[in-house]
């Protein structure tokens, strides 16, 4: 197993460049939103962060599936790290969404905000994932249980989405409809740059965290070998 990682620094550099460019574009280039004015610019962080959280959960579930498929234990750590990143970006989504809700609708929390409610459900679900991991002894059994739970999570996302949609009337703006993105070209470009930046940031964090955890594991093995 190689502990060297080259993708991490490249992703970190990319994240820095894209985020810097994205923020600059969001503040100086794109026009104000006709409806919400200046405050709408949080969109360029909030939505990419939310999409990245989904991507992390999806990646974690994919690694979990690979683990169950091949029984190769190295996927356990990868799946765990991806879910870990997903939770971090999920919390960021909750925070930025809450701020936007306060500015737009005057409240910190609104149950008719479907994305926020969905992220709250996911946050609770994936927090339980950590509880499951911490209260089970390490080993192949824990790896496969965590993998099954991570797969449940990725199925829960659309099911909860449907449930929340059924339950409430919404005020959350819907930008991406069946007819494509409902925004101007400049806005869409800025959005794409920000999305690339946040995704690169997630990749960099994922690589760093994974390298750290692998090192940790290797160290433990060596210690056991010495003892």
């Amino acid at each position: 197993m190689s502990l060297r990682n080259n993708a991490g620094p490249a992703a970190a550099l990319g994240a820095f460049a894209f985020l810097l460019g994205g923020v600059a574009l969001a503040f100086y280039w794109v026009p104000d939103d006709a409806d919400q004015g200046f405050s709408q610019r949080i969109f360029y962080i909030h939505v990419p962060v939310a999409l990245t959280a989904y991507a992390c959960f999806g990646w974690g579930a994919w690694k979990a599936l690979r683990l169950l498929w091949t029984r190769d234990q190295r996927y356990d750590l990868e799946s765990y790290t991806a879910v870990h990143m997903g939770v971090i970006f999920g919390v960021l989504t909750l925070v930025t969404g809450s701020i936007w809700a306060k500015i737009s609708w005057g409240v910190w929390w609104s149950w008719s905000e479907q994305q926020l409610v969905l992220f709250l459900v996911l946050f609770l679900f994936y927090s339980a994932y950590f509880m499951l991991r911490y209260s089970t002894d390490p080993g192949p059994r824990r790896a496969s249980m965590s993998a099954v739970y991570a797969l449940f999570g990725v199925v829960l996302i659309p099911v909860s989405f449907l449930a929340i949609r059924l339950a409430e009337n919404f005020i959350h703006p819907v930008v991406f409809t069946r007819d494509g993105p409902q925004m101007e070209g400049t806005m869409f470009l800025t959005f794409c740059v920000c999305l690339a930046g946040v995704l690169a940031l997630a990749t960099a964090l994922y690589q760093t965290e994974l390298a750290g955890k692998r090192l940790d594991e290797r160290l433990r093995e060596l210690r056991e070998a010495l003892a």
Binding site: V121, R141, V155, L166, A167
Partner: protein
């Protein structure tokens, strides 16, 4: 196929027989659901509508199911029976199916008391509510059994199961309460059916990985 069903029947019969002899779980569930309804009656302000009470009925049933689920693998764990079952020459998903069937039976018994009690204490129950409970029971039993097996393998056990179970049961509560109180229950019932289908398939396919190494 018939061998598979035979395994399921034998395993489910074992659970029901155990319950019939020891009476560990079902009486506790019945008492709990009635007590919960009485406590909820006092937690509601006097002028609260019956709609709020319907929501509380769902919560009472979910927690009653949780109570039953924490006991679901108690016998297996105490006697280390699960190791034996996993070694037995039967499909592992049969263990899940049998356990879900017994959990479902206990839950239906609890609701057979809870719904008349609710009608007596609060408001009459329509056919939509009964249908919603029937569909919700399937989902609760399917998902709950798998999670109970996970929790039984962990150190935290009873503490862990509610944490794993409640986020997954939110869609059931949404569908169930919606079907009970909204004017068009069809959509909500269809949603509950979809939930059952998706999660039952997932739990059926993944149970093997939860009990084996």
């Amino acid at each position: 196929m018939s061998a598979y069903l035979g395994d399921v029947v034998v395993l489910a019969r074992k659970d029901l027989l155990l319950e019939l002899r020891a009476r560990d779980t079902v009486p506790a569930m019945l008492l709990f659901v009635v007590s919960a309804l009485v406590v909820f009656r006092f937690s509601l302000p006097a002028e609260a509508s019956d709609l709020a009470a319907v929501g509380l009925l769902w919560i009472a049933v979910v927690f009653t199911a949780l109570l039953g689920l924490t006991r679901a693998f108690a016998a297996e764990r105490e006697q280390r029976l699960l190791d034996g079952l996993v070694l037995a020459p039967c499909d592992r998903s049969a263990i899940w199916l049998a356990k879900s069937a017994s959990v479902l039976a206990f839950l239906v018994l609890a609701e057979a008391i809870a719904l008349p009690a609710f009608a007596l204490f609060f408001a009459p129950v329509g056919w939509e509510t009964v249908a919603a409970f029937a569909l919700a029971d399937l989902g609760i039993a399917a998902v709950g059994t798998l999670l109970a097996a996970m929790a039984a393998a962990s150190r935290a056990r009873e503490l862990l199961l509610p944490l794993l179970f409640l986020p997954l049961v939110i869609p059931i509560v949404v569908g169930g309460v919606g079907a009970s109180v909204q004017a068009d229950p069809g959509r909500y019932l269809a949603f509950l059916g979809l939930y059952d289908l998706v999660f039952a398939i997932l739990a059926w396919a993944s149970f093997e990985y939860v009990v084996t190494e």
